[in-house]
């Protein structure tokens, strides 16, 4: 059977669930054809691998002090130069990838869990919809980065608090997207059908609503990953997030501020690493949006 151009390929996920294999294969096929998604995936794969194998790849210990080589410019020994303590920037960047990925994972998971719970409740139960959404309005009244900074002001700087701050400030986006998706799904006939055969709310939500709102959640999470990494790096850059000597990209740029005249490499390379990682997530997210959810274009 030829796989392309069947009219029912464009139907929502649930219709194709009768044959999940073909749906998955179809999605995978359009993924491979999507240039943006593939570029993002390759870029991220390289960055993740270099972070995982940092101990093998890094030529130096990222926190080892070497005063003889402080502020050394990029050379064959130190590809990206060294910082004010003689630490090798290239090795620090490799290790720093681990922290950025961890921050993204924790912050996005936090926002995802809170946002999906609140969004589903708001979208499915009209009685509490108003309450949750007014609450979300207040939440959204704070610009994202300001909210993250305010939370740091309360909790104090540090890695854990930075992840919490970024997670909390990303949550309202999830509530809105998930609620919107749930609202449109709950009016579908198959929900009425499930209810008419006596399915309870919990079952309807878990088996009929959630599987049908997965696509926008995946897309949003990919894009939020990039935003979370940017926010966390921004916090560290202000000295409010991860503190040196932890080799975090934002914190490395923070340290570079005092040496901007003597050592451009201290800030330029870590910042470029952030750019590459965020770019990877945005490319992947854009591609996934085109594949999974063509109507959610921004």
């Amino acid at each position: 059977m030829k796989a392309e151009a069947k009219w029912w390929y464009n139907l929502p996920l649930v219709t194709s669930l009768s044959n999940p294999d073909s749906y998955l294969r179809m999605t995978l096929k359009s993924f491979k054809r999507n240039r943006s998604a593939m570029t993002g995936l390759v870029l991220l794969a390289l960055l993740v691998l270099s972070a995982i194998f940092a101990p093998k790849l890094a030529p130096y210990d990222p926190i080892e002090i070497d005063f003889a080589n402080r502020l050394a410019p990029p050379s064959s020994e130190h590809w990206f130069g060294t910082n004010e303590f003689g630490r090798d920037i290239f090795s620090m960047i490799l290790y720093g990838g681990r922290i950025s990925i961890m921050i993204g994972l924790v912050a996005v998971s936090f926002a995802l869990v809170c946002g999906v719970i609140l969004g589903v409740l708001a979208g499915y139960f009209p009685k509490i919809d108003n309450l949750i959404m007014r609450f979300t309005d207040v939440w959204l009244a704070f610009p994202t980065f300001l909210l993250a900074i305010a939370i740091i002001a309360i909790l104090g700087p540090g890695l854990t608090n930075a992840m919490i701050a970024v997670g909390i400030s990303a949550t309202p986006q999830y509530i809105r997207v998930v609620r919107g998706a749930v609202l449109s799904v709950r009016e579908q006939e198959y929900i009425a059908a499930a209810r008419s055969i006596g399915a309870k709310n919990g079952r309807i939500i878990l088996h009929h609503i959630l599987p049908n709102v997965v696509a926008p959640i995946i897309v949003l999470s990919t894009l939020q990953f990039g935003t979370a990494i940017l926010s966390a790096a921004g916090l560290s850059f202000l000295g409010l997030g991860i503190q040196p000597p932890t080799p975090e990209w934002g914190a490395m740029a923070y340290a570079s501020r005092s040496y901007i005249r003597q050592a451009w490499w201290m800030g330029v390379f870590p910042g470029f690493a952030i750019l590459l990682m965020v770019l990877g997530f945005n490319l992947l997210g854009d591609g996934l949006r085109d594949i999974l959810d063509p109507r959610m274009k921004q």
Binding site: R134, F135, D137, V138, A141, F142, P143, T144, F145, L146, I149, A150, I152, A153, I154, L155, G226, L230, A233, G234, F237, L238, G239, L240, G250, A253, S256, R257, I260, R261, W264, G267, V268, G271, F272, I274, L275, V278, L279, N282, L283, D286, K297, Q298
Partner: protein, 306 residues
């Protein structure tokens, strides 16, 4: 229109009250004793009692809130714990720098974003479309502090075209504006393009072309206005993001604006200042979104009736 206006303005009041509750609670959400947190572990008991009284932390919570709200409405946000100056005075002094920066950036980024977005949509799937979209993608992926550092190294240190840091008139705002505008132009271009593409596929555009209108009229008159709603929404949101994003840019360029005030307040645990700045920026953001809502009514008269 008047009814729509009044309804919108009234709907902003509960949000602003909610914001004031959150900002008020900030100091109470500090884990442990807020006064100990502000003064540090080794503060004398006298100083602790004194500050507790100064911040009015001995009253019951609701009383404290109503006092806070009553004063805030009258424009009294307390005194800075560091300089002892009224918080409002410090904000009024810093605000002109930030608002100039935000307004210049939003103008520059809207112009760049709109032009790039329209070109990308009209020349869909051509080299120009791809160029604009790759540029936009880099815009939304670049860390603001990185761009700020690079601009500073190149244009201030090496070429010496602009002052390196501090505020000495318009020239000091050129690089920070360029940084902020470069970053938000990306999202404006993306949304303009997708909104324009949607409109250009509508039946009435085909009708306009069919009756022989030239491309310029079709694009500028029939499409652009109809594509503006999502763009205006985003520009409103970007304005808020710029106010907050100025935090990083102002810090890099040592501009004496609201953002730097916020960072200094946090590092010195100056809580009345932190609360004041947060309340101020959030209120401004709510008002911006209110203006955006009002603009919907002007752009699309149907919205007034809903």
């Amino acid at each position: 229109m008047l009814k729509y206006l009044i309804r919108r303005i009234i709907s902003a009041i509960p949000v602003l009250l909610g914001v004031s509750v959150i900002v008020f609670l900030m100091i109470h959400l500090i884990p442990g004793d807020p006064v100990q947190h502000i003064l540090g572990e080794f503060a004398s008991p006298e100083r602790v009692t004194e500050l507790r009284n100064q911040l009015g932390l001995n009253d019951p919570l609701p009383i404290q809130y109503f006092k806070f709200l009553g004063k805030a409405i009258k424009g009294d946000l307390g005194r800075s714990l560091i300089s002892n100056a009224p918080v409002v005075d410090e904000i009024t002094r810093a605000f002109p720098v930030t608002i100039q920066l935000a307004i210049y950036s939003i103008i520059v980024s809207s112009v760049i974003g709109l032009v790039a977005g329209i070109i990308a949509a009209v020349r869909h799937n051509t080299f120009w479309d791809q160029l604009a979209m790759i540029g936009a993608l880099f815009g939304i992926s670049t860390p603001s502090f990185w761009l700020a550092l690079i601009f500073m190294m190149v244009f201030a240190y090496n070429l010496g075209w602009f002052p390196i840091s501090g505020y000495s008139g318009l020239a000091s705002l050129v690089l920070p504006t360029a940084v902020l505008a470069a970053l938000s132009a990306g999202s404006i271009a993306r949304i303009t393009r997708s909104s324009m593409l949607e409109v250009l596929g509508q039946d009435y555009i085909r009708t306009a072309r069919a009756k022989g209108l030239d491309e310029e009229t079709v694009v500028m008159k029939h499409s652009l206005k109809n594509a503006m709603i999502p763009v205006v929404t985003l520009v409103g949101l970007q304005f808020g993001a710029l106010l907050a994003g100025a935090i990083i840019t102002e810090t890099v360029f040592a501009l004496p604006g609201i953002g730097r005030l916020a960072v200094q307040a946090i590092t010195t645990r100056d809580f009345p200042m932190i609360q004041g700045v947060t309340l101020f920026v959030a209120t401004l953001f709510v008002l911006t979104n209110l203006i955006v809502d009002l603009m919907y009514g002007i752009i699309d008269p149907r919205i007034r009736l809903q």
